[in-house]
């Protein structure tokens, strides 16, 4: 009976470990997306004042 118990238990431990690894990869991906969004916002902020100066009129 012990072998039977271990066989079924290890199958589900294996499956749950795999699901946990997928969840971790998913969280890492979310972090990467957040970083990319932050980076794109940062670059948009640095571009905006330059555009503003151009719009406001440069030296004529």
């Amino acid at each position: 009976m012990a072998y039977l118990f271990w066989a079924y238990s290890l199958v589900w431990v294996g499956i749950f470990l795999y699901l946990y690894s997928l969840a971790r990869r998913s969280r890492a991906l979310e972090r990467q997306v957040a970083e990319l969004v932050e980076r794109s916002r940062g670059s948009a902020r640095t571009q905006a004042p330059a555009g503003g100066r151009r719009a406001g009129g440069g030296p004529s």
Partner: protein, 223 residues
């Protein structure tokens, strides 16, 4: 990919898994020679079968990638192979736990076991190749070829039990299923349960793979 289908698959998987567990542990009659230990069979064989399906899926995705060059097929192949390796690892573990009390050993150099171990090593190699070779189209091409060539071992595993002097019993023949009705029913429910679970797992893993691909592309663009 539609989310409602995932919901149906998740519920279907939960219900069929519970039925499979009840069928395997309570409904199926106890085998006369091996006793309760034979009940490992109801999880061992479905995992082996779905493992073959997963490797077949990876092979098919490899063929489609080489034909079309679409990255989605590469992600599909990687997803199927990864789940195939997980399932075949569990097949080896449950097989060992079954063999110990029945054959008196954890492992024996039986033709079916050896060909199965080679199959496992091929697809572990496939996953290592994918993780080591960077992220470029060459990697995807190598991986596709690897998945196609690796699948050649599946018929060898299948036929080794029939045509070589293997210890593993042959359950399915062209004429009949060598099982009592309650055992065959428990096995059938197990096969359905693990098939539904594979579909659910594959879709989740593929979605993750496609997202990883898109995020890597965006990160490259952003520098």
């Amino acid at each position: 990919m539609t989310r409602p289908l995932d919901g149906w698959l998740a519920w279907g998987s939960l219900v069929t898994m519970l039925l499979a567990l009840l069928g395997a542990l309570l409904f199926a009659q106890t085998e006369q020679v091996m006793g309760p230990i034979q009940r490992i069979f109801y999880v061992h064989l479905p995992l082996a079968w779905i493992g073959f399906v997963a490797f077949g899926h990876a092979c098919w995705a490899g063929i489609q990638y080489l034909r079309t060059g679409r990255r989605g097929w590469d992600a599909a192949g990687a997803s199927a192979a990864e789940i195939g390796v997980l399932f075949s690892t569990l097949v080896i573990v449950t097989g060992s736990l079954w063999a110990r009390p029945v054959w008196g050993t954890w492992w024996t150099w039986d033709p079916q076991l050896v060909t199965y171990m080679i199959l496992w090593l091929i697809y572990v190699g496939y996953l290592m190749l994918r993780s080591a070779a960077g992220d470029d189209p060459r990697r995807a091409r190598f991986a596709a070829v690897f998945a196609i060539v690796g699948f050649v071992d599946v018929p060898l595993v299948w036929f080794s039990a029939r045509y070589l002097r293997a210890l593993s019993p042959v359950i399915f023949t062209t004429h009949s299923i060598g099982l009592a009705p309650s055992m065959a029913q428990a096995l059938g429910v197990g096969l359905v349960a693990w098939s539904v679970f594979y579909a659910l797992l594959f879709r989740a893993r593929l979605r993750l793979g496609l997202l990883e691909m898109q995020v890597a592309g965006l990160a490259d663009e952003a520098g």
